[in-house]
């Protein structure tokens, strides 16, 4: 990122990254919608939407010094400008290029986010292609000239009042509609400024099925501070009656705008009954691949509704780290609650204040309940719908099906299902792989499909729903199914299964072989999915999220993969400590307290370092020694002891210092570290850094089994 980007400060840069990401995702959605309409003459509003997205992206990435992105956006803007101004047609090669560039843009943004150089190898290629397109817009002049030659010019109809505030694009749309002989109308409506967004959206939704909106002109006549009169100039694509019907119930007047040579067109007679304003526009049939997604993400650009951040007026955007901080506070409150519980116990036992203790206990229970509610509330806020990821998968599907030359129809449902944001991030790679598999190996080529009496177009259904505390995602294809016999053979070749085992395997067992390392890649290897990553990786990744994958398949009918995930992640409160200048996490559920100790507190008993805590002897384990990096001598000044307990056993873990308490997501380490049993995984602590999470119970077990032997050693491992 450039000097300018750096100067802007981290927060602004984050805004940039998240907004840019949203724009790029919006581009993808609009492209899908255009692709779906499969016409060389796509809805001008969608194209304009694309143009605006790319335009904003260019401006933003220029401002923030992401040069490759702004360059690409710049060339693409020119190309899209040609498209929207009718100087070029949107053929499939243009769409392919646009789709490719969405991928590249996503890559660039990811690189910037990670602080890498945005050097996507595809970038140069895409840029070259876009530039190649830029040059040859011959259709251009044609259309432009054609429009100019046509009899009626905007200047013949409108005075400077309207003309002077039309942008170049709006003027172009006006010309085009005039050329096509569509009648123009002026819809005048008054809006409450306080609610103009929703009110106008309602009117827009009613107008869009019957007319193209060319511009909005705020009238300056009104003196009312709270009202705004707006003239909406539209080109009517349907009959005048339809316009009247569409505006039924809306407080608006409609006026026909006389255009030359069109006197015979409908007169200014269309005046809908002026009743109370209706809030709801008619619900339009969604043509998007993700209808639910569109419903959830109010204003997301499907069939042509404006992609607008404003319309998401009931939502706030929150940095996930702020939620993490809140979660930490909850964790700290949990410690307070623990302390109060101990105090009430002490009141009862030591001081004999039974009644007071009962009262305190009751209060503490109430506190506990509220705390759980707070915790659940925060977890709920972290939930996001699957729709964004599903949109990406829809793009991917399109790309793969084109690459492989297979016709695929992707049916998406349940995109509104919500899961924790972190789960979504971790889920998208495995899901992509699953979909790739379904298209590549599942769906047969056309000849085979015809022979099997199936329609030419293969179907992949991506379905999500919530089931209790779990989210279920199913990927189902109507392809060839998995051949159990081949799978079994592959497994036997790999040596995973021997003949004896094979003999007693059920059909289900055999299908599950697909998740064993190396089996799916051998049995199913092709160009696309066969490169090393197999279903085993999918299973591992899903397993790391606490989920399970199951497969059902019938030869000739299809395959269904079912992923069941917890809705929220295994987030545990942990204490971050330092040992020999490294940070480790100790799960709080095993920690009873943490205290500062001085070197004099420690004394050896039978070779084991111990200290006395409230009259009881507490064995100590110096974690630096346990970790195999011992420092000689007495306890260093300023050491802390974290008291961990497992059943009746207590162990004081000696650390160099306490950092903070934090909720952490435990991520498992690979099989290559399966011997590191004293760690249950690692957790992100920011800046790409990881901290290992101590498996306290394993440490205690190891300590006492070593110590229980004839010659107790100071530190279990060494």
């Amino acid at each position: 990122m450039s000097k300018r980007g750096k100067q802007a400060g981290g927060k602004v840069v984050e805004e940039f990254l998240s907004e840019a990401q949203e724009i790029v995702e919006g581009l993808g959605r609009n492209m899908l919608a255009i692709d779906k309409s499969s016409s060389d003459d796509p809805d001008p509003e969608l194209v304009n939407e694309l143009f605006r997205g790319v335009h904003t992206l260019k401006g933003l990435s220029g401002m923030f010094g992401v040069e490759p992105l702004s360059r690409l956006a710049h060339h693409e803007e020119n190309m899209l400008d040609d498209l929207r101004l009718g100087r070029r047609r949107a053929g499939p090669e243009v769409l392919d290029l646009l789709f490719m560039s969405v991928e590249v843009m996503t890559g660039i943004l990811a690189a910037v986010r990670d602080g890498d150089d945005p050097q996507d190898p595809l970038l140069a290629e895409v840029e070259r292609l876009v530039r190649a397109f830029e040059g040859g817009g011959e259709a251009a002049a044609d259309a432009g000239e054609g429009a100019k030659r046509a009899g009626c010019q905007p200047a013949d109809i409108f005075g400077p009042e309207v003309l002077e505030v039309l942008t170049e694009y709006e003027e172009h749309r006006l010309r085009t509609n005039l050329k096509n002989g569509l009648p123009l109308y002026r819809v005048r409506a008054r809006f409450d400024l306080a609610a103009i967004d929703t009110e106008l959206d309602a009117v827009k939704n009613r107008l869009k099925p019957v007319a193209e909106i060319i511009t909005y002109l705020p009238s300056t006549a009104g003196t009312d501070m709270d009202k705004l009169e707006l003239d909406i100039i539209v080109a009517l694509e349907a009959a005048a009656d339809d316009l009247a019907a569409a505006l039924e119930g809306v407080d608006a007047s409609v006026e026909w705008i006389r255009t030359e040579g069109k006197e015979s067109a409908a007169g200014p007679s269309v005046v809908p009954s002026a009743a109370t304003k209706s809030e709801e526009g008619p619900s339009r049939a969604d043509v998007s691949v993700a209808p639910q997604a569109a419903l959830v993400r109010a204003g997301a650009g499907d069939g042509g509704r404006a992609l607008s951040l404003r319309s998401v007026s009931q939502t706030v955007r929150v940095d996930i780290r702020k939620l993490d901080r809140l979660m930490n506070v909850v964790g700290e409150l949990a410690i307070v609650r623990g302390a109060i519980a101990r105090m009430s116990e002490e009141l009862k036992v030591a001081l004999g204040r039974r009644e007071l203790a009962i009262e305190l206990h009751r209060i503490n229970r109430g506190f506990d309940r509220r705390l759980s509610e707070l915790r659940e509330g925060i977890l709920e806020v972290r939930m996001v719908p699957l729709s964004q990821m599903f949109d990406r998968l829809a793009r991917l599907t399109r790309k793969i099906s084109r690459d492989l030359g297979k016709e695929i129809s992707l049916i998406v449902s349940g995109a509104e299902t919500e899961v924790d944001k972190l789960i979504i991030e971790e889920l998208s790679d495995p899901l992509m792989h699953v979909i790739r598999n379904a298209i590549d190996h599942g769906i047969e080529d056309v000849e085979h499909r015809r022979a099997a009496g199936k329609p030419d177009t293969g179907t992949v259904a991506l379905t999500a729903f919530q089931k209790g505390n779990h989210a279920v995602i199913e990927v189902e294809d109507d392809g060839a199914g998995i051949d159990g016999q081949r799978l079994l053979e592959a497994a036997m070749r790999r040596g995973v299964v021997d003949a004896e085992q094979a003999a007693v395997m059920s059909e289900r067992d055999i299908l599950n072989l697909v998740f064993l390392p190396g089996v799916s890649t051998v049995a199913l290897a092709t160009e696309m999915s066969g490169r090393g990553v197999g279903m085993d990786v999918v299973k591992t990744n899903i397993g790391a999220l606490g989920g399970v994958v199951e497969v059902q398949s019938e030869v000739g009918i299809g395959t269904k993969l079912t992923i069941t995930l917890p809705v929220t992640l295994a987030i545990i409160p942990a204490l971050l400590v330092t040992v020999a200048e490294r940070i480790y996490a100790i799960p709080l559920n095993t920690v009873t307290e943490a205290l500062l100790v001085s070197p004099a507190d420690a004394r050896p008993i039978m070779g084991v370092e111990t200290m006395t805590l409230r009259g009881r002897t507490l064995p100590l384990l110096r974690l630096d020694r346990f970790f195999g990096a011992p420092r000689e001598g007495a306890l260093p000044q300023g050491s802390c002891v974290v008291v961990a307990s497992l059943g009746q056993r207590r162990l004081g873990l000696v650390v160099d210092g306490l950092v903070e308490q934090q909720d952490v997501v435990i991520k498992s380490m690979g099989p290559s570290l399966s011997s590191a049993t004293c760690f249950s995984g690692a957790t992100d602590i920011g800046d790409q850094r990881l901290a290992l999470v101590l498996d306290t119970s394993k440490v205690i077990e190891e300590f006492f089994s070593a110590e229980g032997g004839a010659a107790p050693r100071a530190a279990g491992a060494e």
Binding site: A111, D117, P517, G670, C678, D684, R689, L690
Partner: protein, 171 residues
């Protein structure tokens, strides 16, 4: 001219997460190798194994593991084991030069990171340029060597069999 001369040590385009896919299915049976250096030796690995090349991220050391396991790193949200390839191949421990890179490679059950001193280039070699590693048998580290490559006239370099070496070390 030809690739004899074309070998600038440009690693730019490779630092991003995706490598160019092996060039389709052209009538080209040359195999791609990603070349890198450790100490003053040049090595190559099968390009198909390499998923990603990254600058070394911060490493969390994992106590009580062999010294060639440097620790774990965070790659796109996943925890990945990082190995010091130099140590495994009989060089000293990596000195972490500025050019050091981590190759993320696919092993059987997981992706692992492999630390090298520098990534130099991708070479596409004709099978005839490869000599079986057996030619070196007797040499101490021959079990790690799959081929010795002699790219037309250029210096030879060793193609290591990561599957074999790492597979052994990761058990």
């Amino acid at each position: 001219m030809s690739d004899k001369l074309a070998a600038p040590p440009s690693i730019g385009p490779l630092t991003r997460e995706t490598l160019p896919p092996p060039q389709g299915r052209q009538a080209d049976d040359r195999q791609g190798f990603l070349c890198f250096t450790i100490g003053d030796e040049e090595y190559g690995v099968d390009l198909n194994m390499v998923r990603q090349i990254v600058k070394p991220p911060p490493v969390a050391w994992v106590p009580r593991t062999p010294s060639h396991i440097l620790g774990v790193i965070s790659i796109r949200g996943a925890v990945v084991t990082l190995l010091d390839l130099g140590l495994i191949l009989g060089h000293g421990p990596c000195a972490w030069p500025r050019t050091a890179r981590v190759l993320i490679v696919d092993m059987w059950e997981e992706q692992v990171g492999v630390l090298v001193d520098a990534v130099t280039q991708v070479r596409r070699l004709d099978p005839s340029a490869l000599e079986a590693g057996a030619a070196l048998s007797g040499c101490a580290r021959s079990e790690n060597v799959r081929y010795v490559a002699r790219p037309g006239g250029g210096a030879l370099f060793t193609i290591v069999d990561l599957d074999a070496i790492l597979g052994e070390r990761l058990k």
